[in-house]
Symmetry: C2
Subunit: 392 residues, 2 copies
């Protein structure tokens, strides 16, 4: 089985772009991606594509993959839309890895997009709700923030996690996002501000919730047969893991963890032969502040119940032992649903290529990305490893 | 790279089932699938799943894959929804093949489902429209039947294809469907009936259009490492091909063919090292009668413009040289959008296993399935080959 390599990744800005369409945003991301390939890559060299989108607003619900790949000139190239809610393009990246490893393709584009900013707040509530369980969650009035609020309450109750610790996630991620020119909310916030924001869903306040965003992101995965044509500094996809779970939170045994994340992480560590100690940075799915804390535990960055203390210790800050969400995360960088997973890979690519600017981690060799669908109905984890540094 | 094998496939009935949900239909298909495996297969042996659905009606638009796989007990197993409109589960089967060939999974479930019968005709028109191009086709009032009507008109104009030839597709497929206990419209129709039905979209009449359907179907794809555990009569996935195209018909150079189908077929023949002459039967995407005629040409069963004559000759009837749509096709068996591609594989499995009852083709060795998304924005072709017969 061939190894798979990440040779390029790029994105549009995340934010509200009334002048753009889902197609134009995807083109921006696609162009940034091909331009990021060290030795260059022509669209005509792409064998296959996977595109993730939830299809918020129903603009192009069917065939939304080919609708964007044809727009960027991938004439005739097989394109498959994958959708696992907020993990849509994380799974698109995973499919690209499978396509390469299957020997059926050498150069595969994985991307995602979403346009959310032109909807009313009621429409947004509806469309976010579709990532929850429809019949017994959404139709009975549960909002997406409400689902994560229940998880936060449970974690606070069980482990004495505090609102202040939740707010520290926001402070950290805004500090990082302020260094990312692609971030939607690219400004710092103080602990006071993050503590005193209006409540969205008790105990989560506005600073504990990511924004709704427009945006697109892509990554290029290639086989070992062709990797030398595209780069002299290969970044290997060392590990990939995925897991699923009941879509409805109410169907699960526990609210204080995301079993799909844990399964995905264990599979990825196992495939890579690595442990969390081997990582130099991680991009985790912080749609709500509690989600980042759960990720610390599910990805085994710390023991169960210790995530609040971990963020408080500064270990996951940009200058900490394991910087988390150097991009700003979903909280500050933004969360255009279908783009988010591929966007995390963009940050991994930038960090491992030494092109993360002011937020650059020092000489990173290995990074992890973690993308969750819904409240944990699906999760996918990738571990990327710089080959040259490892052998050097 | 490992070979991939089809070891089981099963489906629910297709039709209108007001007492069923998308989950219960999927369970019926899943149970039929595991029971069809010659040496048996436990749900716990499944490593991964791909589920295709358009999500008609928006019941569970996000995470609709895990929503059904968790329901049938695939706890924690990675599940990815794939969507390429009416080709959703044809692409799910293709992803299962890639997953197996990648070495990342040994036993993979591919399936699909749709529930359509409980919608008003306006809602149906909306939801079918999402498989067309949204901004310039759907929102400007083009229906799905209207898109295929344009293709029919173009073919009739260019090649003197007749309404009678279109009607012969319906007569043939209903004759086959009448022999299929799972068919939604399992009755024969006369050429007179198929000629004199009310117009839906000129020149297509009611007998030139498939019904809307509820239903689910699944298939099991395994690696060569484990195939012996499941069957003594392996059916190899000899060829897989896929192609994409502009989603809007109006964006294409020609209306008298589906380039994505042709690309998919050529890739599948190439991978299999086979030609159409090697096939013993085929299931093709006949959402409208014209679509079956276009398929004959795109899949190289005949030259361009000769499809009308081919169906008229009887060559594609059950007792012809190359029986097409022995199941009844989308026209008579039914077309629950997300289930259709996997449902075609169910027919291939039954034929190659000698379990197609009254519609059994004599000793078939190779069969092809062909699944189209929208009016040709995506297409996928599989070629299945019975190993024992080949080596015998």
């Amino acid at each position: 089985m061939t190894d798979a390599f990440l040779v390029g990744a790029g994105q549009s800005g995340y934010g509200a772009f009334p002048e753009e369409s889902y197609r134009s945003l995807f083109r921006t991301a696609f162009d940034a991606t091909t331009e990021s390939v060290p030795k260059g890559l022509m669209a005509s060299e792409i064998d296959e594509a996977f595109v993730g989108t939830l299809g918020v607003g129903g603009r192009q619900l069917g065939l939304s993959g080919p609708a964007v790949t044809e727009h960027v000139g991938l004439d005739g190239v097989p394109c498959t839309r994958v959708e696992n809610a907020c993990a849509a393009s994380g799974f698109a990246v995973r499919q690209a890895v499978q396509a390469v490893k299957s020997g059926m393709a050498d150069v595969v584009l994985a991307g995602g997009f979403e346009v959310m900013s032109d909807m009313s707040s009621d429409a947004t509530k509806y469309w976010l709700g579709v990532s929850g369980e429809t019949e017994w969650e959404r139709l009975s009035g549960t909002t997406f923030a409400g689902v994560y609020a229940q998880m936060a309450s449970a974690h606070m109750e069980r482990y004495d996690t505090t609102r202040k610790q939740l707010s520290r996630v926001a402070v950290k991620n805004h500090a990082n996002g302020a260094k990312n020119p692609h971030a939607q909310l690219g400004f710092e916030c103080s602990l006071d501000e993050a503590q005193s924001a209006p409540t969205v869903a008790e105990p989560l306040n506005l600073y504990h919730c990511c924004p709704t965003s427009d945006g697109a992101a892509c990554a290029l995965i290639v086989s070992e047969d062709v990797v030398d044509e595209y780069t002299d500094d290969p970044i290997r996809v060392a590990g990939v893991g995925a897991g699923s779970d009941s879509v409805g939170l109410f169907q699960r045994d526990s609210y204080v963890g995301v079993p799909a994340s844990e399964r995905a992480a264990e599979a990825a560590y196992d495939m890579a032969g690595l442990t969390p100690e081997d990582l130099d940075f991680a991009e985790v799915h912080d749609c709500f502040a509690i989600a980042e804390l759960l990720a610390y535990e599910d990805l085994h960055f710390c023991e169960k119940g210790e995530a609040g203390a971990l963020v408080e210790s500064g270990a996951t800050a940009l200058d900490g032992d394991l910087p988390v969400n150097t991009s700003g995360g979903l909280k500050s960088k933004g969360h255009p649903i279908g783009a988010t997973g591929a966007g995390q890979v963009v940050e991994a690519f930038k960090q491992l290529s030494g092109e993360a600017g002011e937020r650059q981690v020092e000489n990173p060799v290995r990074g992890l990305t973690h993308n969750v669908g819904g409240s944990g109905g699906a999760a996918v984890v990738h571990i990327f490893e710089k080959e040259t540094a490892v052998s050097a």
